[in-house]
């Protein structure tokens, strides 16, 4: 290593030799300063204090630093690196496929070949008020994400959540939940394997739910009642990038639990979240996305499965079809989503649950919802802060169609106007306010309006 260090020193000197003879001392100093700057790109801690030091001392420091870097890399990659360098762009056959030349801007170099991701997470603090009630503060979500790369091809990812700040045994308080925990096996860009606790790839928010990434303090009603959220199940499947902006995910997962379906929430309470789940009749779910145009994402998802593992004698089928889009143009954003759910044997299911619990859940055979959300960035997109004004119209009916002999209740045919602002002093911090005008088709039962304040952050 000492010899290599001397050679490097000699190399630097030789590189500078033409300069020494052809250029002025100030030019030489400028080039050495450039080398020092480049070294600081590799190690920001490399000394900035150069005043009072002669050029030879500064070259000594560069040599020492390079020796250290080479020594650190020696056990794993020194031979490869040497070969790659010889090859360079001049002799393609002998080097690695891609040779980095420079990196500039705000960056951090990875110290080793193994990527160890730091703990990340997001938090969500809300204060909600319905008409006639006081504000109710709620530390809604405290979520930590952990990951690990066993290699470039095998990776682990997880998300652990505490909801409502407090979890106490035997009492109805918050919850601790594993939202996702899976292994990825990257085989080819178009074919990879995934297994574990998986987020169901349906809709916009289920897989993209960090507070700064959506408008409104609470998640959209449609993506809460028509599409469960946060919907995760145990399963396995394949993912991949098909090229030209298309990518897909398709899984076999544990099924929904129909014994928890009801009139107001549709199928949303039926997610098992990996607890007391069943793979006897695994559900099939798939999503195809197109993101081939800048700032445009189009997605469509399909779910099909049976949900009767807790309702003996009745095994209703659940099918969900969904399509969504996100688009940004200059200061305008637009989101839209449509989802429809079908439940087969809903009449038998209602009778079975009534036998089990004494209560008729009045589960519908079809549920439907959609929303449209235009938004405007008040500040220019390149500004360090962001202020977004938005309005969202949502229509959602958890009793779109009823089985024979059952009557839909009009209070479950609902629509909402949600309007508000999102202020981001930093791209990872969102301070939110919104007002909800909630209506339904009942002349008797009213859905209260609501005011929501919230702050959420990602780190």
């Amino acid at each position: 290593m000492v010899n290599i260090g001397r050679l490097i020193f000699a190399a630097i000197a030789l590189c500078l030799a033409p300069v020494v003879f052809a250029q002025s001392p100030s030019e030489i100093e400028r080039r050495v300063a450039e080398l020092e700057e480049k070294m600081r790109l590799i190690d920001p801690a490399f000394g900035k204090e150069t005043s009072g030091k002669d050029l030879l001392t500064r070259l000594d420091q560069l040599e020492t630093k390079l020796n250290g870097i080479l020594a650190a890399k020696a056990p794993q990659s020194a031979p490869v690196a040497a070969a790659s360098v010889v090859a360079g762009p001049v002799v393609p056959a002998q080097g690695p496929a891609l040779t980095p030349v420079s990196v500039t801007g705000d960056y951090q170099a990875s110290p080793t070949g193994e990527t160890r991701l730091p703990v990340a997470g997001y938090m969500d603090f809300h204060a909600n008020k319905e008409s006639g009630d006081p504000f109710r503060p709620d530390f809604h979500r405290f979520v930590l994400l952990f990951g690990h790369s066993f290699s470039d091809r095998i990776k682990f990812w997880s998300e652990v959540e505490i909801e409502h700040a407090l979890v106490e045994g035997g009492e109805e308080t918050g919850e601790v939940a594993v939202e996702q925990a899976y292994l990825d096996f990257f085989v080819k860009p178009y074919f990879n394997l995934r297994a574990g606790m998986l987020l169901t790839p349906m809709g916009i928010v289920n897989e993209r739910h960090e507070p700064p990434s959506f408008n409104g303090v609470e998640r959209p009603f449609v993506e809460t009642l028509i599409i469960p959220t946060t919907w995760r199940e145990l399963g396995f499947g394949i993912t991949g990038d098909l090229g030209k902006g298309f990518r897909y995910r398709t899984y076999l997962t544990s099924s929904l639990d129909a014994s928890r379906f009801n009139a107001e929430g549709g199928i949303s309470e039926g997610k098992t979240s990996g607890f007391d789940a069943s793979l006897r009749n695994p559900a099939k779910v798939g999503r195809l996305e197109f993101a081939g145009v800048r700032r445009l994402t189009l997605g469509t998802s399909f779910y099909s499965g049976h949900a009767g593992f807790n309702t003996p004698g009745v095994n209703p089928g659940v099918t969900i079809a969904e399509t969504d889009s996100r688009y940004s143009f200059r200061r305008f954003d637009l989101r839209a989503l449509f989802a429809n759910t079908w439940v087969t044997r809903a009449g038998q299911l209602n009778r079975r649950i009534q036998q089990q619990t004494g209560v008729n859940p009045n589960v519908a055979s079809q549920m439907r919802g959609y929303y449209l959300e235009p938004a405007f960035h008040v500040l220019p997109r390149r500004a360090r802060n962001d202020l977004i004004a938005f309005v969202r119209y949502e229509r959602y009916n958890t009793q779109q169609s009823m089985p024979a002999g059952y009557v839909p209740l009009p209070q479950f045919d609902r629509f909402s106007w949600v309007t508000g602002i999102t202020f981001k002093p930093n791209a990872d911090v969102a301070i939110k306010f919104d007002y909800n005008f909630n209506r339904n088709n009942s002349s008797v039962v009213r859905t209260p309006n609501g005011i929501n304040l919230g702050v959420g952050w990602w780190f």
Binding site: A10, V85, V86, G88, P89, T99, S102, S110, D184
Partner: protein, 114 residues
């Protein structure tokens, strides 16, 4: 011989290619959880520059085959630039190396050298 090798390292890394105008400049926009474009094709031997920016949080950009691993600053905080020489034909993956959200592992792309 090793002397010559090291000389070339310095010459290439700190010399000609840094100052040479790239043959191709490709703008890549990162956002949860995609790169756009996510499939990039370049020619063998080209000096390529990626200009990386984000539409939301900080992201990473890692090409394991090149030993490149940089952070893309969050929206409104600038950009990162990466230059490399595509020496051999082949297909190489790139990925986000900084935890960016629930779908972090979806954030991958492909570099094709022809």
């Amino acid at each position: 011989m090793r002397f010559l090798k090291v000389l070339l390292v310095i010459g290439i890394a700190f010399g000609q290619d840094v100052e040479r105008k790239p043959d191709r400049v490709i703008n890549i926009l990162a956002e949860r959880f995609t790169y756009n474009p996510s499939r990039i094709t370049v020619k063998q031997g080209e000096l390529v520059e990626f200009v990386l920016s984000s539409d939301d949080t900080d992201h990473g950009f890692k090409i394991p085959a090149a030993g490149i691993d940089v952070a893309i600053p969050q929206q409104g905080r600038g950009e990162a630039r990466v230059r490399f020489v595509a020496k051999e034909k082949g297909t190489f993956g790139f990925e986000c190396s900084r935890a960016c959200g629930a779908g972090h592992h979806l954030m991958r792309g492909t570099l094709v050298v022809r």
